[in-house]
Symmetry: C2
Subunit: 437 residues, 2 copies
Amino acid sequence: LLDDNIEEFREQYFTLHEYDQAQFYEKVGPDIRQKIYHFLSPQEMALIFEALEIEDDEYEAYLNEMETSYAADMLSFMNTDDAVDVLNELDEDQRDSFLEMMDSETVEEFNELLAYEEYTAGSIMTTEYVSILENSTVRSAMAVLRKEAPNAETIYYVFVVDDEHRLTGVLSLRDLIVSNEDTIIKDIMKERVVCAKVTDDQEDVAQLIKDYNFLALPVVSENNELVGIITVDDIIDVIDEEATDDYSKLAGISDVDDTDVNPFKAAKNRLPWLIMLLFLGTLTATLMSRFEATLDQVALLALFIPLISGTSGNSGTQALAVAVRGIATGEVDGKNKLKLLIREICTGLITGIVCGIVVVAIIYFWQHSLIIGLLVGAAICCSIVVATIAGSFIPLLIHKLGVDPAVASGPFITTLNDITSILIYLGLATNFISQIR
Amino acid sequence: LLDDNIEEFREQYFTLHEYDQAQFYEKVGPDIRQKIYHFLSPQEMALIFEALEIEDDEYEAYLNEMETSYAADMLSFMNTDDAVDVLNELDEDQRDSFLEMMDSETVEEFNELLAYEEYTAGSIMTTEYVSILENSTVRSAMAVLRKEAPNAETIYYVFVVDDEHRLTGVLSLRDLIVSNEDTIIKDIMKERVVCAKVTDDQEDVAQLIKDYNFLALPVVSENNELVGIITVDDIIDVIDEEATDDYSKLAGISDVDDTDVNPFKAAKNRLPWLIMLLFLGTLTATLMSRFEATLDQVALLALFIPLISGTSGNSGTQALAVAVRGIATGEVDGKNKLKLLIREICTGLITGIVCGIVVVAIIYFWQHSLIIGLLVGAAICCSIVVATIAGSFIPLLIHKLGVDPAVASGPFITTLNDITSILIYLGLATNFISQIR
């Protein structure tokens, strides 16, 4: 296929969807990619680059394969949000060398977007939207749409602005095509526009788009000027990213989307958590050593340590997961925080009592020892209550402090609950040591 | 506001977005909702019902508040996919009583959709799409669009079919509005249509829409007849649902999105996991009891049990999370399963050796006992290797058996790893008991 037959390659390649073009481009080696650069214009390459699905740190390598002027041209043809994502991954020198080769208008646009903080609406929006003035007609709006169609990220929403570019309304293409051509926009537009501020968190934007089923959401500056839009496809990526992030933290790993072949990278991803937890585990051992005498007297007690710490770890993780998700989806906010906490205390009591009874029964039938059963059962009951409260209280507290509650990761809560549950267990055992022996 | 002034209420209510209307409708009590039913037509109510965000089991209560004929009318005005979702939540008698009151065409459509299995493309698709014949012109296509605009779920894609309703192409409204009105559809349509089969898994559909950035995806029957479409807003819900599901299973809880106030419900959600794990924990205790003699001789050994089981649990969960996500996102498939497994073995070895060395150092400086340090270090190293392999192998195996790998939940893997790690530790200790004492 690639034996230098430009015509044939182009013809075949362009019957593919951009996503498939990008997949092909990713799969072939650097020398074939060199040929692709010669066969395609920077504008055509821009579409492929937008559809790439590579790791953030790989962009640099791909761009280095191209001539600098080709790469700069391609970047300026890309949708601004995608181009800015790529530019954000480069070091400053390289970024500047590309920016130098673009025209001043594009550079200004890029610099504005590059200035927004990560994870804000500003950082994920694109400036390729369609806007019209309030007093134009449906006919002129359709003309604008036809003109902008090749460049705009979406033409299915038209954003209506006043003379000072302040957002005053919105219209869907659906509204436009069913309206009379001479209608004035102001008369048919929706005036209650749901929009995001540039500084809003991307998660909140995702929630809005999800709730309202929008295809795009306008983004405005402090003084209500329309500065960009965020489209639903970008929001899907945000939702995916945030879900992965929560999931990673529950598993105690820096990045769970890590199936590449390098075991050193994978180990680097996991070791910080494991080592931190080793130190916490040593703390557990230190605290337990205060009960060495008790353990020395009744070695049987040691058998139930994994059972107790495991159960308290599990119930803590359950409560944690509910609280973290509740905060992430916005279902838990200021007012019902206390409600959630009270609910969790009750849930802890119910699950604690049920599990406690089950354990007494199991141990009684297995070891025929009611006293050990009662001891372990009481310890499990108390640990579940404590673990459930800790599992919901800690993320709520962290959120209150303005930090992402997901940092209270699963293993961290589990280790904390290990400590408390074992202290409860051995503390109880020490008190009742005379009955046990 | 609601003092029986129909006109005023309707005027104010309809300036709201449907989502906000639905939020209001959810928040007010049953008697105010009764008034809303009198003020709004079933058709208007249908839009609100589509935007509701309530638990699946609450639909029944809402429908029972309405007169049966009103509810039946409302259901038939709803988008078919949303109506079918609601009907699926009702018991058969109630569903039939609604279906009896609808016209036969609607009933037939509903029954077809109700027949698809849960989690398939068929079960989430809607039949309200816009289709045209290949040999029509752009002008007639636009006319069809204008006519269908009020009902169709999306008018931004037009699906092109032949005489036998087989899908042959697709066109976006963007393509249409920039084309000459007399152009024949066949000449401008995209012929390579990415589509889903009715029996496809909803996760695969979500992946397609995510990859290709589509706003909607056509769904075809076995013989390529167009039967429905799936829109991006439904896919966002699927992505969310699947992410929540994976997250819940990692936390060992049936449904993590559970922030309502009833602690009994919450306990019911968590107890099955906890009790299952209690039994597994008893198994741990039983196996440990074989080493009672060792523990009896050196009580110090018991101090490190939580450390070892905790660390092995954590590394197992990390490996599990990577494997489950890799399978869910499709990054791990047949060919690179073995690669992932080899990678995980190497990662296990690296993390195991590093953690082992760290532990030897910690215990040496804390307890001044090199031999205990070496013993615990060796046990941790071995347990991490075993836990990492188990954490990645088990989900891969389960997936191979055709079951959702996420059922290998976090707590389950953790408890399994608890058992193996403690057996390794106490086994080693028993062998070297003479050196330790």
